[in-house]
């Protein structure tokens, strides 16, 4: 019961924050709202007993990635002219309409297939111990490959932002 109340509170906060992300004119406000949305989703992860994922969501997403985005926003320091005008174009209306259609379709499909209630919860489910055990045994190779991906991303980011002669002005 108390879980359901918390779920609806965090779900409502996540949706409101997500709407703020896409509607805010200033990207700084968007980023702040996105942090709020990610934290609400982290709370829902915890409610779904995905403890390690909730922890990682706060540390990696809301922590590292959002700090990176905010850092770049501060670096660019956009003026109001560069932010551009807010205007309603045909493309925007069509895009919003298409998304609405997709949501309606998915909702209709979803309500047709109401799932059975989840089975009794194993107290170990989603703990660091259980996820870590399966991550370092069964999924060891994907885990190592994803570290290569991160290495490639680091090198790519450094190479892309490096200053070269005759750059800029």
């Amino acid at each position: 019961m108390i879980q359901a109340i918390f779920f609806y509170v965090f779900a409502a906060s996540a949706v409101v924050m997500a709407l703020a992300v896409v509607s805010a004119r200033n990207p700084i406000y968007s980023a702040m709202a996105l942090i709020g949305c990610l934290l609400s989703v982290a709370s829902i992860f915890a409610l779904q007993s995905a403890h390690l994922m909730a922890l990682l969501q706060v540390m990696v997403y809301a922590g590292a990635i959002m700090v990176l985005i905010l850092f770049v926003l501060m670096l660019l320091n956009l003026s109001p002219q560069e932010l551009g005008e807010r205007r309603v174009t045909v493309r925007r209306v069509t895009g919003a309409y298409l998304i609405g259609a997709i949501v309606t379709l998915l909702m209709v499909r979803l309500t047709k297939h109401l799932w059975a209630p989840a089975s009794a919860l194993d107290p170990n489910f989603g703990t660091i111990e259980e996820v870590g055990m399966i991550l370092y045994t069964k999924y060891l190779l994907p885990f190592e490959m994803v570290s290569l991906l991160l290495l490639a991303a680091i090198i790519g980011a450094v190479v892309l932002t490096r200053k070269e002669k005759g750059d800029g002005q």
Binding site: A11, V22, P117, G126, A152, T161
Partner: protein
């Protein structure tokens, strides 16, 4: 609570997709992308809970890593374009006439 979580996941994904289509600021488009990835994570966690199988959590872990890598490279590209062309509006980045 599981169906409700999936509905929330769809809503977040749709909001993210709308932002991706409608907004023209490159960084807000990037944040909409993060929102969509996050909605996918929510669905994975929910299915994992339904089936009592932590494999879904491994998927979430991988998606988070990919999101981090993608954010780093995309922001590097945005900074690079801003340094040379002084724009972040995606409509004005049309040199290649794609």
């Amino acid at each position: 609570m599981t169906s409700e979580t999936l509905v929330l996941s769809i809503l977040l994904f749709a909001i993210g997709a709308t932002g991706f289509v409608v907004r023209r600021n490159a960084i807000i488009v990037l944040m909409s992308l993060e929102l969509m990835l996050n909605a996918a994570n929510l669905a994975f966690v929910d299915f994992s809970r339904q089936h009592m199988d932590v494999t879904g959590h491994i998927y979430v872990f991988m998606i988070m890593t990919v999101a981090a890598a993608e954010a780093a490279v995309a922001l590097a590209i945005v900074v690079r374009i801003f340094r040379t062309r002084r724009v972040v509006n995606l409509d004005e980045i049309n040199l290649m006439k794609g």
